[in-house]
């Protein structure tokens, strides 16, 4: 099977920066391009089939697995990766809560979880535990058993509601 064909050049907008992609193969996933062509190694590659969620990114404000996005079809769309979550050295509140609750062990799933949880809490600021579990059901963590991750989400929710009152 000959799959090493060349594909024309296209442009991606990632974390508000524009990149020209050229000399690529048509079948490259957004995840591959982020990591191997743009050097954005925050999005992790584990399963390449949408099972693990470690490559989660926002595309036009919709949470998706970047391994299941054809990179060329991300042209003209706003991509936000884990690299955009912190503001310079200033961690986001979800990142802080992960540290405070000890929701990290090996850290491989963490970027995908952070992107997912930011998206989730934006639409559901005071979630039930069952809603949290459903929201993170597409992000596999093999270390923590999820207890502390759920606690981290709850902590962010409490801190945000205190901040707002």
């Amino acid at each position: 099977m000959d799959i090493a064909q060349e594909f024309n050049q296209y442009e991606l907008t990632v974390n508000d920066s524009r990149y020209v992609i050229s000399g690529s193969w048509l079948g490259e996933s957004l995840l591959y391009v982020l990591r191997e062509r743009l050097g954005l190694y925050g999005s992790k590659n584990a399963c390449e089939q949408g099972e693990c969620g470690s490559c989660s990114v926002m595309m036009d404000d919709v949470l998706v697995c970047s391994c299941l996005v054809l990179a060329a079809n991300a042209e003209g769309r706003e991509i936000k990766t884990i690299e955009s979550v912190a503001d310079g050295n200033e961690l986001s509140d979800v990142q802080e809560a992960f540290i405070d609750t000890g929701a990290i062990q090996c850290g491989f799933c963490t970027p995908g979880l952070l992107v997912t949880i930011h998206d989730f809490l934006d639409s559901n600021p005071e979630p039930e535990e069952s809603e949290i579990k459903e929201a993170i059901s597409g992000n596999l963590c093999r270390c923590t058993g999820y207890g502390r991750i759920v606690e981290a989400v709850q902590l962010v929710s409490i801190r945000r509601s205190r901040r707002d009152t």
Binding site: I3, G50, V62, L63, C67, L68, N73, T116, A135
Partner: protein, 282 residues
Amino acid sequence: MDFLIASSTEDLCELLAEDSTRQLLAGGTDFMVEVNFRHRDISGVIAIDRIEELKQWRHDGDSVLIGSCVTYREIERGPLSTLIPALAQSARTIGSPQIRNAGTIGGNLATASPAGDMIPVLLALGALVNIRSKSGVRQLQVDELITGVKTNSLHEDEFIESVRVPVLRGPQEFLKVGPRNAMVISVTSLAMVTDIDREYIGIALGSVSASPCRSSEAEHFISENIDWNNMTVPSGVIENFERLVRESANPIDDHRSSSAYRTHTIGVLGRRALLRIFRLEN
């Protein structure tokens, strides 16, 4: 070697008429897995996920017309989930939030997996699939569209434009067995829908045959025994009903389950759905 982004259905008709070997990319949740694992050879791709007409749905009269690029996410919640509850239940069991944000009803049908979770619901409801090409439109029943394991009867220059789904008055259920509650490809699944006005019950099964199939004998048998005024069913018929559901399945052994377990669970799902919809007669 080309990659094209279709902007309208007319545009898509033209692009397929030009070169019908071009492959259609909607949500990508099956397509890209095959690309990533080098199981799909792509020489030309048309992305259809930016065609506005395909992303719309509307409720007209006694049915909803759902564009083929409407996502599981949109069907899972909001107005569609009250209009077609079993379709929403099936959507919610598919993959993860990330997958449901991307995957589409048209993709679920065209991929034609034996485990495609929306297919039993659409079969039980008697949905119709609108198919289009430059040379015209045609309408197929779901079981005319899906011809076998991952095969469909679409001509090379055709695409699925929309799905016409009846809105029925009466309870509906979609149930599925898998190793966990999320991110699961069905071991078995079952849809049961009712239409109180027509005294109709529709039952269809997933993952127990080459294509999702109706359980016609079980439908006929149970519809003769239901008390539609009271929405009750006599306890004496349950066992026979469960047997008829099992007999309409023709499962295989594979890496996901044994045939024996599939046969067992499809009967359990049949009984469970029945008893969620109808009360046992005293």
